[in-house]
């Protein structure tokens, strides 16, 4: 009994705070509508509605909470009705209910809807029961179908009007062009007519005087024979092997290197063989 009372107290407090929040947001919304109606935008109104809906949701959750006792089982009975002003009540209700009298009680302690409303609801329920389950189902289905048809029509209309209006000037850019231009500016794709982009360095395969050497190894020949460091630093031999066949930019430089080398051809071949192994590994 004690526990239930405590639970009741606690849940009542929670409910009170939720309702107070709701009241505040409703109040601010009404203020906004009354005072700022000329500056009000639809998104702002939607925000207020969203806030209210959220608060109602939390209220519902509080009510459904397992620790909340069933309020349905509680009964509120007015003990004393008097037409005199009640200061205490005034304070508690923030001035809204000055008198706890016969007019106030039916509205505030109401548990059922108005008699007229109750009549109408009873009428509706009897009508609904009279139709029968099958007919009711059929009606539900036809309603659903009509709703979906309407939605489709609206969407199609919206899409068509949009595309119809924009089709003439829809193509303001071409993604393929974008890619081509970006590639051109970034690394010169399509700009160099006389040389493919990303070509190799100054190596020229099939040098004179190295007839038996492989095309790939010709690069190594230059690595080996360039005694003085040349301006064009030869690239990694692996790269050269892959790109053998590209015409070089400065063939004259290479020829001078070869001419300056004074090694015996047989010695050259032997040393090349030695050089090849580390690269192939």
């Amino acid at each position: 009994m004690q526990r239930e009372e405590k639970q009741l107290e606690a849940s009542l407090d929670a409910l009170l705070s939720q309702v107070a929040d709701l009241k505040n947001s409703l109040g601010s919304f009404i203020y906004k509508l009354e005072n700022e109606y000329d500056r009000l935008t639809w998104p702002s109104v939607l925000d207020s509605f969203a806030l209210l809906s959220g608060q109602l949701n939390t209220l519902n959750k509080v009510l459904k909470h397992e620790k909340t006792p069933l309020f349905r089982n509680q009964v509120i009975i007015p003990l004393v009705l008097s037409p005199d002003r009640d200061e205490d009540l005034m304070r508690q209700t923030e001035g809204r209910v000055p008198v706890f009298s016969h007019e106030v009680v039916p509205d505030h302690l109401r548990t059922k809807p108005d008699p007229e409303v109750e009549e109408q609801e009873k009428q509706l329920t009897t009508d609904a029961a009279r139709i029968g389950a099958d007919a009711a189902q059929k009606q539900i289905q036809s309603l659903n179908k009509m709703c979906s048809n309407l939605l489709e029509k609206i969407n199609k209309e919206e899409r068509e009007s949009e595309s119809g209006g924009l089709r003439p000037n829809k193509q303001t850019f071409n993604p393929a062009d974008t890619n081509a231009l970006v590639a051109a500016v970034a690394f010169g794709k399509g700009l160099s007519n006389w040389r493919p982009s990303g070509s190799s360095g100054p190596s020229q395969p099939g040098q004179p005087g190295a007839g038996t050497v492989l095309a790939g190894a010709s690069g190594l020949q230059q690595v080996q024979m360039a005694g003085a460091p040349s301006q064009q630093q030869p690239m990694l031999s692996g790269v050269q092997m892959a790109q053998a066949g590209q015409p070089g930019k400065m063939p004259s430089g290479i020829k001078t290197n070869i001419k300056s080398a004074s090694m015996h051809p047989y010695q050259r071949h032997a040393s090349i063989r030695l050089k090849m192994f580390p690269c192939l590994l």
Partner: protein, 208 residues
Amino acid sequence: MEAPPVTMMPVTGGTINMMEYLLQGSVLDHSLESLIHRLRGLCDNMEPETFVDHEMVFLLKGQQASPFVLRARRSLDRTGAPWHLRYLGQPEMGDKNRHALVRNCVDIATSENLTDFLMEMGFRMDHEFVARGHLFRKGIMKIVVYKVFRILVPGNTENTEALSLSYLVELSVVAPAGQDVVSDDMRNFAEQLKPLVHLEKIDPKRLM
């Protein structure tokens, strides 16, 4: 010549690492006018600036696999303007939330004998092009709309042909490293140019 991501390196002294934040898109020739009008409205109020630039890209091939790239740019319509040398690093990958392409950027103005100097240093010209278009500014953001022209005879900037029927649109900001809020501002600006142009982060490596 790959450096570690610059934004993670502390500033230990010397120059501040400047990063270029970049968004690119393109617009077809017939829609250029509407784009220019929109940019004139959106950007800072100034006389519309047109430019004709000749850019040459130089490569230095070292022992490493990837060559070192420098971009030299000169103005063809403004006499007396200095040459401009620029280094652009590799785009920094990683942060998917970053809306713009970020890369290290070093800019400097040079005198007219830049090409000779670079050739003496061992650079070789890889490709060149002429860029002709309009320049807009909004705060620190620079918007350039230009057409790329291929140079048919090397060295002859008169004889050019357009590369495509579109203009390239670039939105760029050069800012110190670490200011990623810049990319949010860029994205907001790019939103205002839709649906005329879609400015986005395009990775050049994807297009190789």
